[in-house]
């Protein structure tokens, strides 16, 4: 859990999430263009508001990963987020990059899974 490869992956993924968040804030509507029309119709808010929310989410996840706080939860929701992104944007030339990010986020989540916490909960119940 505290090995150098873990930290390299954690920091690398964190920078990616933070920078994507900043780029989305720079031009939310352009990034919203990646959404498939069927997904855009399901949005409860305007496309711009949704993308700004996504950017803030990315920045929060990135910051948690960067500072190594709640790393399991940050990498777990990052994985879920990437699965949603791949679903709503469909197959395109950058899908394979999202797949790599998803693999990295899943690896972090698996590495930081709170086994000790679950065991202690099972013992108490």
């Amino acid at each position: 859990m505290n090995s150098a490869p873990f930290h390299i992956l954690r920091v690398g993924l964190a920078i990616t999430f933070l920078w994507i968040g900043v780029l989305i804030l720079q031009n939310p509507e352009a990034w919203g263009g990646y959404l498939n029309p069927w997904a855009a119709r399901l949005l409860p808010f305007s496309l711009e508001t949704t993308m700004i929310g996504t950017a803030i989410f990315d920045i929060v996840v990135g910051f948690l990963l960067l500072t190594n706080y709640f790393t399991f939860w940050a990498s777990a929701v990052a994985s879920l987020h990437l699965i949603i992104v791949m679903t709503v944007s469909g197959i395109n030339p950058i899908t394979i990059r999202d797949l790599g990010l998803l693999a990295g986020a899943l690896a972090l989540a698996a590495n930081t899974f709170p086994y000790g916490f679950i065991k202690s909960k099972q013992q108490h119940s």
Partner: protein, 136 residues
């Protein structure tokens, strides 16, 4: 955009370094010392604290400031000219502070701390990148 991307990346690396040092200090644990074995001497010296806070906290604030200022420049938050000036002043101050810390390790404490040197390299990297992009 390239300049901002590099500065942002370096600032993020700095945030991870300093938050690691803060976490270790709060827990009372020794940080991993990849090079040399005298990190404790430097981190435990009287020079590890300047004006109220430890150097790692100042470092974290500095890196967060650079990351936020760079993000403002990319997003286009006005007044851009002031954010750019503030970022340049911050990096210049960071370089100066890092030079002082390097001098203290070299001549006064006579011990090297891996994380402090890595942080100084990160700040010098920011300065060099800023100079290169200003000249080009």
């Amino acid at each position: 955009m390239t300049l901002e991307a590099i500065l942002f990346t370096l600032a993020c690396i700095g945030i991870s370094e300093t938050s690691y040092l803060i976490e270790k200090r709060k827990k009372g644990e020794k940080p991993v010392c990849f090079v040399g074995e005298r990190c404790d001497e430097v981190l435990g010296s009287k020079y590890s604290k300047v004006i109220l806070f430890h150097n790692d906290v100042w470092g974290l604030l500095f890196y967060i400031a650079v990351a936020v200022l760079t993000a403002f420049l990319v997003i286009g938050v006005e007044p851009l000219i002031w954010w750019e000036r503030l970022m340049r002043v911050s990096v210049a101050s960071g370089v100066l502070f890092s030079l002082i810390l390097i001098y203290l390790q070299w001549k006064v404490i006579k011990a090297w701390c891996f994380w402090c040197v890595l942080s100084a390299i990160t700040v010098f990297g920011m300065g060099i990148i800023l100079i290169i992009f200003t000249i080009l």
